[in-house]
């Protein structure tokens, strides 16, 4: 693999292809039973048991603000390593691992809605479609977005 090439693990959220660097992906697994967390921010879908490790699942649809999955459609887990441990990103469908070249990269177009623009680092123009590069660290960082507001100090 030359210096200008990079491998991405791809997946789909509401018809669009997103990707994260292959090195940051711990594993990809089918839907797992989840335990909801009351009072948690909306985007937190719940907690999953990943072979004894408790991992927070974040629904990318809600994170990107693109509306919920249809009833009965089960999401897949893309477990990524972040600075604060493993986090699972819930996506609609898993794609291939694709190899991209630096020359195909372009900044995120300004026309995207700001909620998704801040989570997307840029776009690779592939032959048939566009690959949106997800900023994983920002995607799992919820402190900026609305959380449960705690009651007064006492």
């Amino acid at each position: 693999m030359s210096a200008t090439q990079q491998q991405f693990c791809t997946f789909y959220v509401q018809g669009l292809m997103y990707g994260v660097e292959v090195e940051t992906v711990q594993e990809v697994i089918r839907h797992l039973d989840m335990t909801g967390v009351p009072l948690a921010p909306d985007v937190v879908a719940g907690l999953i048991n990943l072979r004894g490790q408790i991992v927070t699942a974040i629904d990318l649809r809600r994170r990107l603000g693109v509306g919920d999955r249809r009833e009965g459609e089960l999401p897949m887990n893309v477990v990524v390593r972040t600075a604060d441990g493993a986090v699972s990103l819930l996506v609609d469908e898993i794609g291939d691992v694709v190899e991209v070249e630096e020359k195909d990269f372009e900044e995120t177009p300004n026309s995207l809605p700001s909620t998704s623009r801040e989570l997307i680092r840029g776009v690779y123009k592939l032959n048939k479609e566009l690959l949106l590069v997800l900023n994983t660290q920002r995607s799992v960082n919820l402190s900026a977005s609305a959380g449960e507001s705690e009651p007064g100090t006492h």
């Binding site: 967390v37 004894g52 490790q53 408790i54 927070t56 007064g152």
Partner: protein, 761 residues
């Protein structure tokens, strides 16, 4: 990169220094113990020898001087006195400084040795004759970790005179390459067989030291602990399968797996366990030094030093315990003269006790000193604005004693270098609470103070009660659990009463605030209690207050492995973590204190008191608190903080009797004075309307007072900002509650004024 030898030396040397601290204090008590002096001598000898071997000149120099002093002590040429002990202890302190420098920089650093060397040499100056073993400093011991020198063994067994060993050592020094035993036999100082026995003893003790212990990296232990946690979960999952399996072989294997896992878990937990003595060991030295510097005479006693605690907990309580011990010595125990004047033995006693109880470790630190000056504490509390004068006056002794745990509190008359700066006890409390522990203090004026600390055995695996609400399971740490109450049939419908919005249950006569878990967690659905035939109330304790948590179902108690929540969920104060249940699903662990605060049933009375004072002074920005609204006479609405209300009762006016000038009623086998709020505040009383009297019962320290009001209106939970300050001290001021101007009643002040003015109704 630190030298491997130095690293090894630091680990071994630190243990020796700890041991030396203890031995010296012991030695001071038993100056004639040959065994102790020999042990101290060997430890210093090892420090000197090993330090010298790896080129640590300062360590060699200091310990050489110390060794010379000890040598004379051992030979009876010097007798131990406080000066010598202090000089030797100072030597150990210098060793520690050198160690600290070595650890951080790998060098011995620029530590000035002249002071300690001077004092050691002064002691030596009395006796010019050189000591044999000290003079033998030239040849370094061949093996740094020498267990026992052969010569020492022979001397201590009395098989050979020390002079003979010294002569043999001199020969070795002059170039004789033979082992010391051989020289001794050759010189006819000792028979061959004796040397062989001694050699056996030496190799035995060497083997013992080498074989019985190994050093293990704590990180590795943590990893093993985590893996065992996983194994416990996997085991729990397998056990779930066994219920629908009939294969006998599988069942018996599962059973074996179960037993082995449990034993393994216990074993691994044990590897992380350390006796509390490891922390306490340094206290004799602290006590000795502080007694000397404060001119007090204090003896320290310990019980239960073998009580074991998880390593992380040991680390966490080290500093708080040290602080408490220093406090006892500095403030608690009086000077000898004061003690004698008070009819107590001149020597004070500091007693440390540790024991296991109900899955927790109890640590008690008591002294037989002056005890807390509760009046001074109350006065200080008022001065610092922590409590109002009225509140201070009505505080029970126990409540007053616990004021010392609040930040910025110190009653020490003078600030010493030991304690008294007003920081400390609050930090002690915070640190203990951080690891899930509790602190309580009891004190009797003139007889001493006892501080009781309760801490969990371990933080990793805890017993928990599993409950279900809204289809979700939650784990409740057993330490917060007080009891379980189940209301069935008729009581299920009427058991929980409403004071307007607030639900309460009468638990053995006390009003227990009720919290519905499904409502607090916004789980939606029906309140289980309306549909089910039974209501399950889990009675919990948080921050000294009890409350009842209504859940749909109470499942079981289970040992759970606590896992932290990810950063995304840290902000939710209701959860302490998560765990994996037997069926592999995740369940959340409730943080009882967080939940109570969310539901505002846990009120820290001191904080509330402080805040209402602030508000009364017109500074407060408004504090969220529950208030009981009631109507008195024509004046309209009054409110009192709900924390001041213990019960609401109705009395038949016929039952009111007179005691002296006071109206009283018989209440729970006691006589309770009544205060007619309307009369007290000289409000236009309402015309007698018949029916039962409405009484707000305020209890304090076992005494109850009934406030007679006309009508209970509501309980509100809102930010109350006091808009105008009242002239009358019995009113905190006025505030707008529910769009109505409401006077806020200062209950303690009202009760006080009644009692003082003899105007109770």
């Amino acid at each position: 990169m630190m030298d491997e030898f130095i690293q090894e030396f630091l680990i071994e040397g630190s243990e020796l220094l700890d041991q030396l601290d203890r031995d010296f204090v012991e030695f001071e008590k038993n100056p004639n113990s040959k065994e102790l002096v020999a042990r101290i001598f060997r430890a210093i000898h090892t420090l000197k020898g090993t330090g010298g071997t790896i080129g640590l000149e300062k360590i060699e120099l200091v310990n050489h001087a110390g060794e010379s002093v000890l040598c004379r002590l051992r030979d009876g040429k010097l007798s131990l006195n406080a000066d010598i002990t202090s000089a030797l202890l100072r030597m150990i302190d210098v060793d520690r400084q050198l160690f600290a420098s070595l650890e951080s920089t790998g060098q011995e650093g620029e530590i000035d040795l002249s002071g300690v060397l001077h004092s050691l040499n002064l002691i030596l100056a009395g006796d010019e004759k050189s000591c044999a073993a000290a003079a033998s400093a030239g040849p370094k011991p061949a093996t740094p970790a020498e267990v026992n020198l052969l010569g020492e063994i022979l001397v201590s067994e009395g098989a050979v005179a020390e002079a003979a060993v010294a002569a043999a050592l001199n020969l070795q020094q002059e170039g004789d390459a033979r082992p010391i035993g051989e020289i001794l036999v050759h010189n006819g100082a000792v028979p061959q067989t004796t040397v062989q026995d001694a050699l056996q003893t030496q190799s035995d003790s060497r083997e013992e030291a080498v074989n019985s212990n190994i050093r293990v990296d704590v990180n590795l232990l943590d990893k093993v602990m985590n893996l065992v946690g996983e194994l416990v979960l996997a085991r729990n999952q397998i056990l779930q399968f066994t219920s629908n399996q009939k294969d006998a072989a599988f069942l018996s294997t599962a059973q074996r797996l179960n037993l082995i896992t449990t034993e393994l878990q216990e074993g691994v937990m044990k590897t992380r366990m350390q006796p509390i003595g490891n922390v306490w060991n340094k206290f004799p030295r602290i006590v000795r030094d502080l007694s000397n510097s404060t001119g007090k005479s204090v003896r320290i006693e310990m019980a239960g030093t073998q009580t074991e605690l998880d390593k992380t907990i040991i680390e966490a309580i080290k500093d708080p315990l040290t602080h408490v011990v220093r406090n006892s010595l500095d403030h608690g125990i009086e000077t000898s003269a004061e003690r004698v004047a008070a009819g107590k033995p001149a020597q004070g006693l500091l007693f440390l006790r540790a024991f296991h109880e109900g899955g927790q470790v109890n640590i008690e630190i008591s002294d037989d000193g002056a005890g807390l000056d509760l009046d001074a504490i109350r006065a200080k509390g008022v001065e610092r604005g922590i409590v109002s004068p009225a509140q201070a006056a009505k505080m029970t002794d126990r409540e007053a004693a616990n004021l010392i745990f609040l930040a910025g509190f110190s009653t020490a008359r003078k600030v010493t270098n030991i304690s008294g700066r007003g920081v400390g006890m609050d930090v002690v409390k915070t640190n203990i609470e951080k690891i899930g522990g509790t602190v309580d203090i009891a004190s009797t004026r003139g007889h001493g103070t006892t501080l009781k600390i309760k801490i969990p055995l371990t933080l990793a695996i805890i017993p928990a009660l599993v409950v279900t609400t809204g289809g979700e399971r939650f784990a409740i740490p057993q330490v917060s659990l007080v009891e379980l109450v189940r209301l069935e049939g008729k009581t299920a419908e009427t058991g929980i009463e409403m004071i307007k919005e607030a639900a309460v249950y009468r638990l053995r006569g006390n009003l227990l605030p009720i919290v519905y878990l499904n409502r607090e967690l916004k789980l939606g659905g029906q309140d289980g209690e309306r549909t089910a035939e039974a209501i399950n109330i889990v009675v919990l304790q948080a921050d000294g207050e009890q409350f009842g948590l209504v859940v749909d179902e109470i499942n079981d108690t289970e040992e759970i492995v606590v896992k932290p929540l990810s950063k995304q969920l840290k902000g939710i104060s209701c959860f302490a973590g998560a765990t994996i249940m037997g069926d592999g699903k995740v369940a959340l662990i409730l943080d009882i204190l967080g939940l109570a605060q969310r539901a505002s049933v846990a009120g820290d009375s001191h904080e509330n008191a402080a805040s209402s004072d602030r508000e009364a002074a017109g500074e407060g920005g408004g504090q969220r608190e529950s208030w009981l609204l009631f109507r008195v006479g024509e004046r309209g609405k009054l409110a009192v903080p709900l924390s001041m209300v213990s019960r609401l009762e109705e009395f038949d006016p016929q039952t009111v009797e007179m005691s002296g000038n006071h109206q009283v009623v018989q209440y729970r086998g006691e006589i309770m004075p009544l205060v007619r709020v309307a009369d007290a505040l000289q409000l236009a009383a309402q015309a007698e309307r018949g029916g039962p009297m409405q009484v707000v019962v305020h209890s304090d320290g076992g005494r109850s007072v009934g406030l007679v009001v006309d009508e209970i209106l509501d309980i509100v939970d809102q930010h109350v900002t006091i808009t105008s300050k009242a002239e009358d001290p019995r009113l905190l001021g006025s505030a707008v509650i529910h769009q109505h101007v409401t006077d806020l009643l200062n209950v303690p002040e009202l009760v006080m004024s009644m009692a003082g003015g003899g105007r109770i109704a």
